[in-house]
């Protein structure tokens, strides 16, 4: 079957739009939540959450702290890279991208990224 080459860009545009559509469906949704809004039903979800770093401890390259904003939640950042480590300071306000999990029957944030605000 022969195909008119000037239609290539139409097919290209169609594929690009399909790509965006699929991306919108498969990209994990990141909710913006407050510490006090985190419940058991959010376990496994990816969230963005703003808070102040408290009780920061570093053990074997892993960083443990509490994220405080009205409430507080235990947070762990496994093996952060140097540039991320520099942002992790006591009393620093950060926006954390994290996954909510349950550890020893307590809600916890598995932090994947922090940004300075």
């Amino acid at each position: 079957m022969l195909f008119d080459l000037h239609k290539t860009k139409i097919i290209g545009l169609g594929l690009a739009l399909l790509g965006i559509l699929v991306l919108a469906m498969v990209l994990p949704e990141e909710k913006n939540l407050r510490v006090t809004e985190i419940k058991q039903e959010h376990i496994g979800e990816n969230v963005k959450i703003i808070g102040i770093i408290k009780e920061l401890k570093i053990r074997n390259g892993n960083v443990f702290f509490y994220l405080e904003n009205e409430g507080r939640i235990k947070s762990v950042y496994f093996q952060p890279k140097t540039e991320q480590m520099l942002l992790l300071k006591e009393n620093e306000t950060v926006k954390a991208t994290a996954k909510i999990s349950l550890y020893k029957n307590e809600l916890e944030l598995i932090v994947e990224k922090v940004e300075r605000i």
Binding site: F3, L5, I11, I20, L23, E83, K113
Partner: protein, 389 residues
């Protein structure tokens, strides 16, 4: 979502720039990104994918218009140059874009099939490869009128390939491709009074059957280590003789891009990195199957947008042929020599000059230049037969 789309768009811009630089390989670019100081996350992985895919589309432009190839697109020099001399350089580029776009769509459809194929026949199929390569080379040889000269080209090209691939020369394929295919074409342009006619921005037709073949072949080569897009396109043309130069350009464009998509599948299914793109991804992300659909959707977006971008850039780039083509060829020749010295040193330059010598001997003795492909085919055959040096 906006962050991911932004990374994809930046990748498309970067791939357009790198694709326009003659002689630069997508693998080199992908590997350089590993050492960049940027944060290695999902967005960065999408950037690498979209840049590699766009590069695979855009590198047809310098290859066809300037005769300056990359490792992947060098086979399109010859049919592309013939069309350039007819004022159809834009159409030649358009055929590679059509091939890339359609073969990618077909690849996305064929992925489930190749997934099960890989699991069931992974161990048997590599046994067929040496026979296919040997059969193709034999057919090529038998079709030559001047057999002693053809034998000399095959023998020296193969020997050069074996030596270069096993001697520790950096980027051996790049140096040989420049020697075998680029330098002779450039010298011809410089020393002949070839006039490049004004290029028309005309659109012809492409065969979707050929694009289907490209998608299928790209799937097959993703299973076999050691067989690259160039060998596969070359063998396909020899097996399917009636595809002509237009079909050949479609196949080359199709295999180059679809190969990247299949390499993504192989990376996630069997953990093998068969392209520079997946080697770079290996250092950025884990092979978590949850990420695969995200990367595939990003790849589909990049293919679509890269096809549009390449067509636009090609439309602008054909204006360059209005400039003195001999001067451009001289400039490209100097640039390629610089690229060889920079990436592969003086030893690389010696290999390039040897390859150019063989190719010029072939041209002077009226032997098809395709025989120089022995530099890749024979070492691949030996690899599958378990013979190493």
């Amino acid at each position: 979502m906006i962050e991911e789309i932004s990374f994809l768009l930046i990748g498309i811009i970067a791939g357009t720039i790198t694709g326009l630089i003659p002689g630069l390989h997508a693998n080199t670019i992908a590997l350089i990104t590993i050492y960049s100081p940027l944060e290695k996350n999902l967005g960065f992985a999408l950037f690498v994918i979209s840049m590699s895919i766009t590069h695979s589309f855009v590198d047809a432009i310098p290859t066809i218009l300037l005769g300056a190839p990359s490792e992947e697109s060098f086979l399109s020099i010859l049919p592309g140059h013939r069309m350039l001399l007819q004022g159809k350089g834009f159409e030649a580029i358009q055929l590679t874009i059509f091939g890339g776009l359609f073969a990618s769509i077909i690849s996305l459809i064929l992925m489930p099939f190749f997934f099960s194929f890989t699991n069931n026949y992974n161990e048997i199929l590599p046994l067929i490869i040496p026979a296919i390569l040997f059969g193709t080379l034999l057919l090529l040889f038998l079709s030559e009128k001047k057999k002693p000269n053809a034998l000399i080209v095959i023998f020296i090209s193969a020997t050069l390939g074996i030596i270069a691939l096993n001697s520790g020369i950096k980027n051996p394929i790049l140096v040989l491709v420049i020697g075998f295919f680029a330098i002779p074409s450039l010298l011809q342009s410089i020393f002949s009074d070839t006039k490049i006619p004004e290029q028309k921005k005309s659109f012809g037709q492409g065969s979707s059957k050929t694009a289907l073949l490209a998608g299928f072949v790209a799937g097959l080569i993703s299973i076999f280590p050691g067989v690259g897009p160039s060998q596969a396109a070359f063998v396909s043309k020899k097996i399917f003789k009636n595809i002509g130069k237009r079909g050949y350009l479609t196949i080359i464009g199709g295999i180059n891009t679809a190969n990247l998509l299949f390499s993504l599948l192989m990376f996630f299914v069997i953990g093998k990195t068969r392209t520079g793109m997946t080697v770079a991804l290996n250092s950025i992300i884990s092979t978590d199957l949850k990420i695969f659909p995200i990367l595939l959707a990003g790849a589909a977006f990049s293919v679509g947008l890269a096809a549009i971008t390449s067509e636009f850039v090609a439309g602008e780039a054909i204006k360059i042929t209005k400039i003195n083509y001999q001067n451009i060829s001289k400039g490209i020749l100097v640039f390629l020599v610089f690229i060889v010295i920079y990436f592969s040193g003086v030893i690389g330059l010696i290999a390039t000059l040897s390859a150019a010598g063989v190719s010029l001997f072939g041209l002077a003795s009226k032997v098809k230049r395709g025989l120089a492909m022995s530099f890749l085919m024979v070492p691949t055959m030996l690899f599958y037969l378990g013979i190493s040096f």
